[in-house]
Amino acid sequence: MTALLLLHLLAAVLAPLLVRWWGRAAFGVLALVPAAAFAWLVGRLGTVTGGGEVRETTSWVPSLDLTLSFRLDALSLTLAALVTGVGALVLLYCTRYVEPGAEGTGRLAGNLTGFAGAMLGLVVADDLLLLYVFWELTTVLSFLLIGGNGSRLAARRAASQALVLTTSGGLAMFAGLLLLGNASGTWLLSELVADPGTGPAVTAGTLLVLAGAVTKSALVPFHFWLPAAMEAPTPVSAYLHAAAMVKAGVYLVARLAPGLSDVPGWRPLLLGLGLATMLVGGWRALRQTDLKLLLAFGTVSQLGFLLVLVGAGSRELAAAGLAMTVAHALFKSTLFLSVGVVDHATGTRDLRRLSGLGRQLPVLATAATLAAASMAGLPPLLGFVGKEAAFTALWEGGLPDRTAAALELAGLVLGSVLTAAYSARFLWGAFARKPGVEPVADLHRPGPLLLTAPVLLALTGLAAGPLSPQLDELVTRYADTLPLRAPEAEHLGLWHGWQPALALSAVSLLGGLALFAVRGPFGRLQQRLAVGSSADEGYWNVVQGLDRLAVAVTGTTQRGSLPAYLGTILVVVLALPGTVLLTRAPWPDEWRAWDTPVQALVGAVVVIAAVLALRIRQRLSAVLVVGVTGYGVAVLFALQGAPDLALTQFLVETLTLVTFVLVLRKLPKDIAERHRPRERAARGVIAVAVGALMGAVGAVALAARTATPVSTGFPAEAYRYGGGQNVVNVTLVDIRAWDTIGEISLLVVAATGVASLVFLRRRPGGVERADAGRLAGSAARRGRRAPRRRWLSASATLDPLRRSVVLEVITRLLFHPILVFSVFLLFSGHNEPGGGFAGGLVAGLALVLRYLAGGRYELGEAARVDPGLLLGAGLLIAGGTGVAGLLAGGDVLQSAIWRGTFPVLGEVKLVTSLFFDVGVYLIVVGLVLDVLRSLGAELDRQEEQDAADGDDDTGDETDHDTDDDTDHDDRTDDDATAPAEVSAR
């Protein structure tokens, strides 16, 4: 079974390709897949009728109790044979139905084949959750098939309506399955049915599952999606909305009935809704003039009938139900396919325009007549056998409650009268000669291949009647799992003697014909009784109500002010964690003033700086005092015994200051006050309250600890497994390396974000380097001689007024030592303070120095590589290390330690996590370089450009950028020799 399902999946994936190669003939090849499944199922017939079953189990997610477990018993086999048999014929039908070269054929083929697979999986799945997966797969594929290529509004609406209704039922069913699985302690359908347990959970679970079945099988009041779904192409309607998908609800009810039919609510729900659906569907079918809609309402009616039978929970009705399911699949798919042929041949499905088609298409008319006769319950067809069995069963009892049985019987007979009437209406509408209606003139005559499927299906329905004793063997296997209510078990067959059921069948048929004969007056009666509204309108009203609610909620909550949103969030923080803290938190009994007096001193400085930051409106000064808090915190880190943190914080604080200066140089000096005093007061209150809360959190957090910290074992593990002595560094690159992977990815994203905000469209692939021409040109432009000897290669491009020889000399002297130091930090970080983060930041500072001293061309000289390349390489190396751990036979990101003796170097110990740290290093350098190139060099360039363009800088930004791009292209061409041509992004 697994192999068959995989085959369907493969075929579905390949289908678009096959259609591209062979056109619509590809459907013929695809039909072989369900046909193969059908053949396999027929091969299992002996086993199953002999009382055996076929099981297959593959483990899927053991920790979640998810298994791919399949089971083939009599019920599954019957449904699976229908699904695959009809599926194969429908696909065959498509080879002629689909117009050659029509758009979207590949999609149709793929979806249809995939649907066949999903439906097969649904009826053979034995695992509750697996069943749900297939269930929703069919829903999604149905959505895609109804919606088609999405170009027609009606199709889109029908598709989304079907999706919304069936998935909401499906979600209820999912909850129900979980309840049932938990209550019964098993996730296998077969075991659940055998012993479902009792109690409110089982009742609730059962009713929720029924909600899924009721929506999927289009029972009242959810029936309206099915007629709307007739927007789909006819083969899809024939397959999904007659033979297969809508039968999923029938299947599920039949599957669960042996175990759950005595759950309170089961019978009233299914018997009541089923009967109502049968009558409503039949009534509405008689009012349709579109043949396809007539059939759709007929299907609704029949589904109600089927659910009454399989939901009754008695042996004899279940047998009738299963036989009727087979009959319905056969005759309804025949009829739908016939309508497709009619549509294909005449271009209309409107029974008011069709006339005399029976003479013109005798083969089709015969097949359709056989099917309609089966639908009406005419002997010797299978429909008659099924209906007769149902009548017999109800006449003899069939339900625990005799009154209910009598009522049901009366209802079903009435429904059957309607069925017979709309069957006659269908035949008359499609094929009869109607006075006053011209026969269709230019008939597009169907080929034999188009007729194959309906004719075969109709003949099967014809043959199955006399052969029903053979079908009975299969049906009985399933029905025997249910209790018998009648005195003795009836078997399926054409002739049971002169019995009340025969009379009821005759009543249905004659009543139906009579109803058809008086169709004129009856139509007027229906018109008078017509209600002004429909379930569909109710649905749209609900949807619109939701829309209105959404607008109202959005309008109320989204006021469009960021401070208001943040304020709301903070007030909630105060209200919830704040209350808990006040009422429940264990306050410490004793306090210490400080760890060391220095801590208090530094703390005072930090607080003063923070308060100053509030008052200062001057941009750069405010940044500086915030920087002071940062440096102060670094000192506190050092005092607390965290040298790595102190080092990193110092470096980052410095880089942050530089970055601020780079951007803020473009902004006005002061920040204008835009808040009213009342707003400021509110902010102040919130701020003080949050501050107090967080301070309190800091105070109680230590005392509130109840468990031993996870990090107690870190030092020992760090050395033994991570091979390093710096526990913090080993934590980063080994113990918690997964976290670090996420964090460095975030850095890559941030760097990319910075670059894209500044460069907008794309960043130039090349690096802006100082070439000889530009140096000479800039010197010539300024009318000065370039210095014969330069400390920095590109500093001559700067305006002489902005050059500082001292800075250039210092940079020249320090740049390489700093780089060496950064590499030292990187390599020693495993055992001493340092590591990839610190090393990368130091290297970044070296680049900052070069940029500040020599300008943007100097930056290009210093780092002749695209920052994107650094970021990408870093991520690749870090990720690659993770994979290496896997290849070495360990877990992802597990470290391996190598020791070796080398000449000169002596004994060397190499830990693979060093490479991870190299990745971190590269990413941090890439980030800094990106910031410098974007916020430094590119902003310089924009400034020059603006100056060159004159004073209309506030004007059309887009034009500027277009100019910029061309400019870059030229420059890139000039720099074709630059090593990092490639843009990594």
Partner: protein, 162 residues
């Protein structure tokens, strides 16, 4: 473990200042507030690691003398990420300035438009307003292609089966 007075006071002060700046409309002030909050949070994390100890480096200190390495590892990456975010927000400030010569987070016009919308605006989907061929098939018995004649009005030919 006994907490110090200095650290909670310091953390609270930094949080208060940070929140006040965060609620400003000027992006620069928001960013400064964000930095203060970052510092405060890092300190809070560190203080939950326990009292001060020696650097968590083997060979320099014994494991029981060490400060807790785990918060340190968390903080270390947080510091660097704060830098990345800072650079990003600065780029946004720059962009905002270049486009509109201001760096304020103004009121979101789109949000205001939604808020001002009356409920009935959502009814663009009402099937009754649609062209008949776009109505769902079962909708109030409206029939595709026959807008003037609902199915109930069909005048069927009187003759029976022929």
């Amino acid at each position: 473990m006994t907490p110090t007075i200095v650290l909670p006071v310091l953390i609270g002060g930094l949080y208060a200042a940070g929140v006040y700046l965060l609620l400003d409309r000027s992006l620069t002030r928001v960013l400064l507030g964000f930095l203060l909050l970052g510092n405060a949070t890092n300190l809070l994390l560190l203080s939950t690691g326990g009292a001060r100890g020696l650097a968590p480096i083997l060979g320099y200190a014994e494991p029981d003398e060490m400060s807790d390495p785990l918060p340190q590892a968390l903080i270390l990456t947080a510091i660097v990420i704060t830098f990345g975010i800072t650079a990003f927000v600065l780029a946004m400030i720059h962009r905002s300035w270049r486009l509109s010569r201001q760096e304020n987070v103004g009121t979101d016009e789109e949000d205001r438009r939604v808020a001002a919308r009356s409920g009935t605006d959502a009814d663009e989907l009402d099937p009754d307003d649609l062209a008949p061929e776009d109505r769902p098939a079962g909708h109030a018995d409206g029939l595709r292609g026959e807008p003037q004649a609902p199915s109930d009005d069909v005048e069927l030919p009187r003759a029976g089966l022929r």
